[in-house]
């Protein structure tokens, strides 16, 4: 059997050969570590994006001009420029503005994906709030709710049902986009995979495993999105 396998060229040479797979699994720890960094960056980035998205979404649907203008400007800038350049700006600008301040690359990744997807989430939240209709806000205000109180108890709970599917969809994009960290040596899954693959040329097996790991992180959320979508539609 071993002889037979040794004589099959495809298994012994080429981009997907057995020795390459063996080398990958001997060093699989590197990929686990990278995956851990990706999970960390994605979860903290998601928290930041949700917070920013909620605040900016409420701001851009408010009646006051200055917060609305600020939120519009933020959203347009972050949605219309590449994430990569925002990350590079953070990477270069922070040490320049605050000399001597050392920020780990992982923090730059969290800030980068958080701010970028925060802009998208703000649009989702704004659309959700606007779908509720002005009458409800007026009714709440006339009943003595403050603006914040009306948002908190009347508008946001209703809007939640509408915004949840697109928000989980954004979470999937956010996980995928943490891979830009690889370009600034952020130690994430993509970086771990790419540097291992590059060192020995084992691109084929490495990318398959890296892809599988990303898929395993994203697919459950994508399924959840679909389920939430059909629930919203049913209502």
């Amino acid at each position: 059997m071993a002889d037979l396998l040794a004589n099959i060229d495809f298994l012994q040479e080429g981009p997907f050969s057995v020795p390459r797979w063996e080398a990958l699994f001997a060093n699989i720890g590197q990929l686990w570590q990278g995956a851990l960094v990706t999970v960390l960056v994605a979860s903290l980035g998601l928290a930041l994006a949700l917070a920013l998205g909620t605040v900016l979404g409420v701001m851009s649907s408010s009646q006051w001009r200055i917060p609305r203008g600020f939120a519009r400007g933020y959203v347009e800038f972050f949605q219309n420029t590449p994430l990569l350049i925002q990350v590079f700006m953070l990477y270069n600008a922070i040490p320049m503005l605050v000399p001597g301040l050392f920020i780990p690359v992982i923090a730059i990744g969290i800030l980068g994906v958080g701010m970028y997807h925060g802009a998208y989430m703000a649009e989702v939240v704004r659309a959700g709030i606007q779908s509720i209709g002005h009458g409800q806000l007026e009714a709440a205000l006339s009943q003595g709710f403050s603006y914040v109180g009306a948002m908190r108890y009347i508008i946001i709970p209703q809007a939640m049902r509408i915004v949840l599917p697109p928000l989980t969809n954004q979470a999937v994009s956010l996980i995928k986009n943490t891979s830009v960290l690889a370009i600034i040596a952020g130690g994430d899954l993509m970086y771990a995979g790419d540097s291992f693959a590059g060192r020995y040329g084992h691109y084929g097996p490495t990318y398959i495993v890296v892809g599988l790991l990303y898929f395993l992180m994203c697919f459950p959320l994508a399924r959840l999105t679909r389920r939430l979508e059909s629930r919203t539609r049913a209502n």
Binding site: P15, E76, F77, Q79, N80, T81, P82, L83, L84, I85, Q86, F88, M89, N92, A93, P95, M96, V172, K176, N177, S179, V180, A182, I183, M190, D194, A197, Y203, G204, Y207, V210, G211, Y214, F215, C218, F219, A222
Partner: protein, 228 residues
């Protein structure tokens, strides 16, 4: 004497090399994005129609492709095209972007077609419309209006994500800018370059988004929302 024109940023901004470099980069960015958009639109339409068709094998193939690709990072697909498929940098970027974008567009197209209620189909067929006529006159008009905003916003995403091609050394705008930033190494020069690149991306993408918004309001005006 240190005048304004001698400041590092002004020295850099008066150097034609900067504009030449960024111009070349922009050209390649537009090429990569343009070809990817055209290819993904065609492939995405076919995939979307395949999945919408509900035919046993055909729709499963399309569904599997879409579900797998949608859950992979764009950057990974570009790296695979370059290192595993062995394509030259520009084409690796094009293929990587296309593999991903086609799947997204397919979903948009299927969603648009699905948004037209089956009742409308049945009504059209019962009135003697052929399949193609029903598609052309009844289903597509409201569906297309629904598809335009997400498809155009996906094109904006393609232009932005073409910057990932710097990871494989394609000399597009982002990579050109980074090379120039290394040439002018002073922090304020680097920031200025990145700001300039952001502005270029912003100008292109903001224009496209605005046109899409205009188109959507114009096309959907006067159309009822019945059945949508």
């Amino acid at each position: 004497m240190n005048t304004f024109m001698d400041s590092p940023v002004m020295v850099m901004l008066s150097d034609p090399v900067l504009y030449l470099g960024l111009g070349q980069g922009l050209l390649l960015t537009l090429q990569i994005a343009g070809i990817s958009i055209a290819l993904s639109f065609v492939i995405g339409t076919v995939l979307g129609a395949m999945r919408y068709s509900g035919l046993p094998v055909i729709s499963h193939v399309a569904a599997t492709y879409i579900e797998v690709v949608r859950n992979l990072p764009q950057l990974l697909l570009i790296l695979v095209s370059y290192f595993v498929l062995g394509l030259p940098a520009m084409w690796a970027a094009v293929i990587g972007l296309t593999i991903y974008t086609a799947a997204i567009i397919a979903e948009v197209i299927r969603g648009g077609l699905n948004s037209v209620m089956t009742g409308q189909w049945e009504a059209a067929r019962s009135q003697g419309f052929s399949y193609l006529q029903a598609m052309r006159y009844i289903v597509l008009p409201p569906a297309v209006v629904k598809m335009i905003p997400p498809i155009v916003s996906q094109f904006v995403t393609v232009i932005k994500d073409s910057s990932f091609a710097m990871a494989i050394g394609a000399y597009e705008l982002m990579f050109k800018g980074t090379i120039l930033a290394a040439k002018y190494w002073k922090p304020e020069q680097i920031i200025t370059i990145y700001l300039a690149i952001s502005l270029i991306y912003f100008a292109i993408n903001f224009t496209i988004s605005q046109i899409a918004r205009r188109m959507q309001t114009k096309w959907s005006a006067g159309r009822g929302t019945i059945g949508s």
